[in-house]
Symmetry: C2
Subunit: 187 residues, 2 copies
């Protein structure tokens, strides 16, 4: 069942704790009256401060133009409860359907950007396009996370990780090795 | 216990099945007599053909110069059995220790590049530096996977996913939604 997550402000320099493990994410965007959501799996954290995330958004995606022209998007973190929505969004196009309405997701006002956030996701990272120098060659966008919100619980949400070919891996056990880390590598 | 994986050739255009879920990886490199291994978590698939992977390798890493000057590396996939090695490698520097010797890992000859592969890893992706235009600004390297090998079993290895702060997530259950995908999105 889809939850609706109450989210609190979260430090932008720590979004790696959600994004570095490689979850599939839902990217929401808006341009004028248009809005859209896409499923995205090709992303990486690039820097803590400023909080940079790089990702590939193929030009064939309906979201490409919305994101490039508005210079904004929200990276939303879905949990396992949204698996069917993640799959549905990835297998339809915003040129034909309103993804929010079709998949029963609720747009909520973002705090800093104009693109909507998704109420049913457990964390929302509001992004501004920081560097488009690799967009032409690789469809690679560098975003700055300018505002982040995350549900306080669960601390480690059950995320989805795509392996290709229609198959997902669900996040598993948490193992701490804090005691073996150099202090300067810990938060 | 550390296994030693027999690996077979694997199609380079399919490395996303291992890398897209976001595992921590071990990057091995060599330059002249020097060799090194680093732990790396900031990476993303960028293209199927050519098989491109982008990643951040901070200039402070001993491996930075070896990789940049040789223009090569191997991205090796460790499993849960190598957790302590992953942590140890990430918390020491190749300027002071031989990581292969210190952590009991076996360098094996790669097929195409000069950098060694790691016998105890279940997949090895041999890479050539394809684009260094974002290295100065972001320490962001674009590699082409020129040759890949992977163990046939397990099909979905138990990978490690870093969440920051000394804490790892282990890969969990596999869920297929193949039946809900458009055929052109499947392998």
């Amino acid at each position: 069942m889809k939850g609706r997550f109450q989210k609190a402000e979260f430090p932008v320099e720590k979004v790696r704790c959600y994004l570095e493990p490689g979850p599939i994410v839902l990217v929401s965007s808006a341009l004028g009256e248009e809005r859209n959501i896409m499923t995205m799996g090709w992303h990486t954290v690039m820097e803590f401060t400023p909080s940079l995330v790089g990702c590939v958004i193929a030009e064939s995606n309906h979201s490409f133009r919305l994101i490039r022209e508005s210079g904004e998007c929200v990276i939303n973190l879905p949990t396992r409860a949204l698996l069917d929505e993640v799959v549905g969004i990835g297998n339809t196009t915003g040129a034909e359907v309103d993804k929010f309405a079709t998949f029963g997701l609720t747009p909520e006002e973002s705090r800093v950007v104009n693109a909507p956030s998704i109420l049913e996701c457990c964390a929302c990272f509001e992004c501004r396009l920081a560097d488009d120098s690799l967009v032409r060659k690789y469809n690679f966008f560098v975003f700055e996370v300018v505002y982040a919100r995350a549900a306080r619980r669960p601390k480690h949400p059950e995320t989805l990780h795509y392996t290709g070919n229609g198959v997902f891996m669900v996040s598993g056990k948490i193992l701490s090795r804090r005691a073996k880390f150099r202090p300067e590598l810990l938060d």
